[in-house]
Subunit: 730 residues, 2 copies
């Protein structure tokens, strides 16, 4: 077992590191050193102790603890629980789902209304500028204004993202996927992230960048769900003292599933698509009541959004079915002979999607290498914003595509050099948000926009690659074909080729276009697009996840692991603790290893912890809380009755760092010890050394495990497996 | 631990019993006796041996083995497998899904076309009879004909079901649910069952019984999937020698999921509803590729059905979207103030559905007690058939609801006592299949049918309770309200109140009515119906499952198990085997216990099997095959190379009964022994005695376990848990 191998087991508390760790400690983390911990009198000279080299990359992500720790405290609480409490708990789950739906929709509405109103002001102002200045023949002033009006919001948004919360960059979908898979992406479900994301989306769309709202909405839904379900906010230092029972990773994840679904529902007006998105991306941990609650959150979200936007736009119609929609399509009849054509389009979409993904990932890799400083990121965004304005102006000024007024429902028809009663179609395309442009392309009668106009527009949208939003990347392609059903199929093929979702995407398209008779062509197209795309590479989110080296569990174990057994992949030796353990030893292992779980063992044959029989598992987070509260056996203040499971819940999810624990020398002196009996998980999952890796993988996937102890046939600890041990790139 | 407790562990081979067991043995099974097995010299006097009382009820159902047995044979095969083979295996999964979709649709089409054609002949003949005889004033002859034409097909169908394959009775949905949950319902996925079911459905609909086709279609899809995926038919004694790798419960179940989805897709023309049905009912074992394959099967099924029925009805239109559909609805606009009304209807639907479920289960219980003989069942069906004819004649003859010809698109307008150019509306309702009647009720203009007509019709349909099909039970209720959206909502509320599905049912209704704008009211109604119904009792399928005492695992562990641990529910002592075991002992335990899994142990401290360390698990089915093939250590014919995993696959799923094994006295004499090493599962799942039951339940649910060995902290066998141990009614 190489030293490389041994690192894999380390899961560190990077989340805490980034937030609460003093500078001196952060430095230490970044330089991998071999710890040869000061072996105290108390700590046995376990060989386990010199394995702890920290690897920055491997330790950036932790796993979530989906497994409920059924220790004595938990059982004691369980026996006190009355049936009424269970009912109330279940009821609050539904209430929280309701709140998640409502809040997600509210956020979506806010973003939408702000974008709409500000864009109206912006383009109204620009139109007036153009109209005034075109008479004087000087178009540089509107150009400058335009650049400025693109630049300012984009710089604001980019600065926020770069300096305040970098994790808010991008669509957020890969991160949410990882979270649902069981990876703790640092800071991904914080309120600050939500705020930055919302402002970032609004400013970038106002600034004319072709960024979709669907990814951010999914991410926002997830944050809202994580926030509401906890009844407290660490950011605001508020604890409402409610919902304490939902303060564990398991319950939180269940709500995040609902939040993501509500986000999709709000973004597309697609409640069923919402639940299917959550399902298709996180199908490993489902049960019926979770399905129903998630469905409820989606419905409420899309209902609230519809209600609010309808009210906002005048109560006459209830057609605002989602933030993004392609408008209502008339029924699209199709003939069976067209199906092969659709499938061919699917193949083309799959291939071009695969190409897109490859190019996108290359560009992203290049950007990750070239643009590292924060100011450079802001500068990049600013550059793209000005480029957009330049491009738009060039096109509007040079392409003289005049059309009679009144046929096109554009809000700001610009006359430019056209006759009276005519307007410039190229300019009209630009004098609206990118989304409205896309919708116009879908629904305007054929020939409304000359190919040249469209080609230029597509070229520009392609520059949006840097923003990796899929809708914007996919839809323009339809411009090359006639509007109507082929446009829709083309868009579906392109989308399917990029994201490789079938079930959820087909339902989203179904719900977005409102055309159920057309479901068969859409599904066929998406299937063929997926198949042909999968021949070349993975979907864009998976590529991004792989690139960011998040230890996400795939659906099936990698082929090279197929014939291995537990002892091939397990990390060893394992740092174990005894049932009764000295404070000094615990402090040492917490400080000098980055493990998050420690098997509790009986003493081995030679009296050491090595080869001890497994009797439990204790987590780093538990040990930290125990030490913080001085739950020592010898403490005069310690009686069992004062020890409460609430102490552990209150610390969730940001447990104190070890370095912030101040255990005075007296307590470290050796007199004080911790009895794990009450705290440890007395029945951790374990497997025998010879168990095959696919079988272990199945356990991780099905149960959402974080630690799996490997034991001999005599139940002696041999090694430990965490999710990183399944990923070959480590 | 009471003796009652000990019985629960027994899972017997009832499937084999019913098929291949000689009469003398079947008799023995039915009389529960205490076996005190002849303790041979070889067999230690394990206390485990006098526990084996057979309980007919508990042993009727086995579990499926979802866990892959990764023994030496399997691993040896795995190492030989080339990547190419894995690709080919995955490809064949898709091909099988395609076949499942196509075949399910074909079966659906056949049933549909037969029903349609025969019904046309039947009602055409009856109309002529009525027309001829009404002039003579004697209506008894058409009545007799009608009775006869109802009676003959119904008796044929009922006889088939009662005498040939009783498991084909009923809708089949509860049975499919059980199968997906992991219960081996005897003979449920056999070709014979499918044949009887198909004929039974056709004859009962032709005979005028109000039975839906949706339940049978789901069941048929499941059978087709199970059949196609295995590449052999035991019934026809054919083995195509293909697809051997799919011959285990795990693979088979995955295909059955697809088959059930394809069945829904064919029944309702609802591909998305199909996959959601499978999902909502069996969500515990999912992964992404299974979702996609299932979706594919659904799509292909609904596509094929559409194509064939469209071709059959003339290639002009492609509107045959499913066997059952409510016809196309015009867009149904709704106002927000109507939502509370819809929700109120949901509450009413939920309450009446709960009432219906209660009444239905009482009636079924009564029938189960009163009608036990097979001939009585046939007689009952015949009685209902004649009753139907009587009722229809009475209504047609006495209600003089005359309408001008041409407004109603009924196929056989009967004049009866009406004026020329008029027809009798009451008779028209009856001169078609029940399904066509329901569709007419939905779409005919308001006032087409007088309330009296409808009320009588509803009363009759209620008699269909005996057939427990939900569509037929739910839809007539809409008759009391105006057609259109309130009819649809009323039907949804009633359906939701009876079956308590939300997600899949809303999508099915959405796809069936083709009205996506109406999805929000439908979902709201279904949700409220479910909530209010759940206040009183469970959904109808769950009630039926509970009544039939199938050990189906619920979604959550029963509350009374909440605070128990493994040692509270485990069965003990356990019959264990040693790594090397004498043939005689194996024959003894196979014959005298009904256990399906035996832990393999090292010898305990006292040299007996009691308290041995767990080193593996061997299944009854494996032992039977080992003995049948004489895989003894001492056999001259035995070399490892001749032992193949194929021998085990070939015997799947109908393993020989122990009594059919003829092991001669010489081999029993004690010289021959079996070495388990190569056959046993070397890493069975095990838990420690103190593990909480909810945690164990979670394991069963997530992994589809059949046996879970309970061990001490030294890994010594203490007990064993099977799924029956979680069900309180045992």
């Amino acid at each position: 077992m190489s030293s490389q191998r041994r690192l894999i087991d380390c899961e560190s508390d990077e989340e805490n590191v980034c937030e609460e760790v003093p500078a001196h400690r952060r430095n230490r983390r970044n330089e991998p050193t071999d710890f040869n911990i000061p072996v105290t009198n108390e700590a046995d000279a376990d060989p386990a102790f010199n394995l702890n080299r920290r690897s920055k990359e491997a330790s950036q992500y932790e796993s979530l603890d989906y497994d409920v720790c059924e220790n004595v405290l938990w059982r004691r609480e369980q026996t006190k629980i009355k049936p009424k409490f269970t009912v109330r708990k279940d009821f609050s789950r539904w209430v929280i789902s309701l709140q998640i739906g409502v809040c997600t929709a509210l956020v979506a509405c806010c973003i939408n209304i702000v974008i709409e109103e500000v864009s109206r002001l912006k383009y109204g102002f620009l139109k007036r500028q153009v109209d005034e200045n075109v008479l004087r023949g000087d178009l540089s002033i509107p150009y400058l204004y335009w650049s400025l009006l693109n630049l300012v919001p984009v710089v604001i948004g980019a600065t926020l993202v770069a300096y305040v919360e970098p994790v808010a960059a991008g669509s957020g979908i890969p991160q949410v996927k990882c979270y649902l898979n069981g990876v703790k992406v640092p800071r991904i479900v914080r309120i600050k992230t939500l705020a930055v994301k919302a402002v970032g989306v609004a400013t970038s769309v106002i600034g004319g960048l072709a960024g979709g709202k669907e990814g951010p909405m999914i991410h926002s839904g997830a944050v809202i769900a994580a926030g509401i379900s906890q009844g407290k906010s660490t950011t605001f230092r508020r604890d409402l003292r409610i919902l304490q029972h939902f303060r564990d990773d398991h319950e939180k994840r269940d709500f995040v599933v609902g939040g993501a679904a509500a986000g999709v529902a709000a973004a597309f007006g697609a409640p069923i698509g919402g639940i299917l998105f959550s399902l298709e991306e996180a199908a490993s941990f489902w049960n019926q009541s979770l399905i129903w609650r998630t469905f409820f959150a989606s419905i409420i979200s899309s209902f609230t959004l519809n209600l609010i936007l309808s009210a906002y736009h005048g109560l006459s119609s209830f057609h605002y079915r989602g933030l993004f929609n392609l408008g209502e399509f008339a029924p699209l009849p199709f003939e069976y002979f067209e199906l092969p054509i659709f499938m061919l389009m699917g193949v083309l979409g799959g291939c071009s999607g695969a190409l897109w993904n490859a190019v996108n990932s290359r560009i992203n890799m290049f950007r990750a290498h070239a643009i590292k400083q924060r100011w450079a990121k802001v500068l990049e965004a600013a550059f793209v914003a000005v480029l957009g304005a330049t491009f738009a102006c060039l096109m509007a000024y040079t392409i003289n595509d005049c059309r009679p007024l009144g046929r096109d429902p554009t809000e700001h028809p610009v006359q430019l050099f056209c006759q009276d009663n005519e307007y410039n179609a190229a300019a009209a395309l630009w004098f609206q948000t990118p989304e409205a442009t896309v919708k116009a392309l879908f629904h305007d009668p054929p020939g409304s926009h000359k190919i040249l106009t469209l080609a230029a527009f597509v070229l520009d949208l392609l520059s949006a690659v840097v923003r990796d939003r899929w809708i914007s990347s996919a839809l323009p392609l339809q411009a090359f074909v006639s509007p109507g059903k082929y446009a829709l199929i083309g868009a579906a093929a392109q989308l399917g080729g990029v994201v490789r979702m079938t079930l959820s995407l087909s339902v989203i398209l179904l719900e977005t276009t409102g055309n159920i008779g057309f479901i068969l062509p859409i599904i066929l197209t998406l299937m063929t697009a997926k198949w042909s795309g999968d021949y070349f590479n993975e979907g864009i989110y998976d590529i991004q996840i792989r690139a960011s080296r998040v230890p996400m569990l795939p659906w099936h174990v990698e082929p090279e692991y197929q014939n291995l057994s537990a002892h091939h992949i397990m990390a060893r030796p394992v740092v174990c603790v005894r049932l009764e353990e000295k404070v000094q030893y615990l402090m040492d292992i917490l400080k000098n290893t980055s493990h998050n779980g420690f098997p509790v063992v009986e003493d081995g044959d030679d009296g050491s912890r090595v080869n001890g029989r497994l009797i439990g598992l204790i987590l780093r987070s538990q040990l930290v809380v125990i030490l913080k509260h001085s739950y020592y056996q010898e403490s005069s203040s310690f009686w069992e009755s004062t020890v409460s499971i609430e102490a552990f819940r209150d610390a969730y999810p940001r447990y104190p760092a070890v370095e912030d624990l101040h255990v005075n020398a007296h307590k470290r002196s050796g007199k004080f010890s911790v009895n794990m009996e009450m705290f440890m998980n007395p029945s951790p999952y374990s497997v025998e050394e010879g168990t095959s890796v696919p079988r272990i993988f199945q356990l991780f996937r099905a149960l959402g495990l974080r630690h799996l102890v490997v034991v001999s046939s005599e139940n002696r600890v041999r090694g430990i497996i965490t999710r990183k041990d399944f990923l070959k790139h480590h």
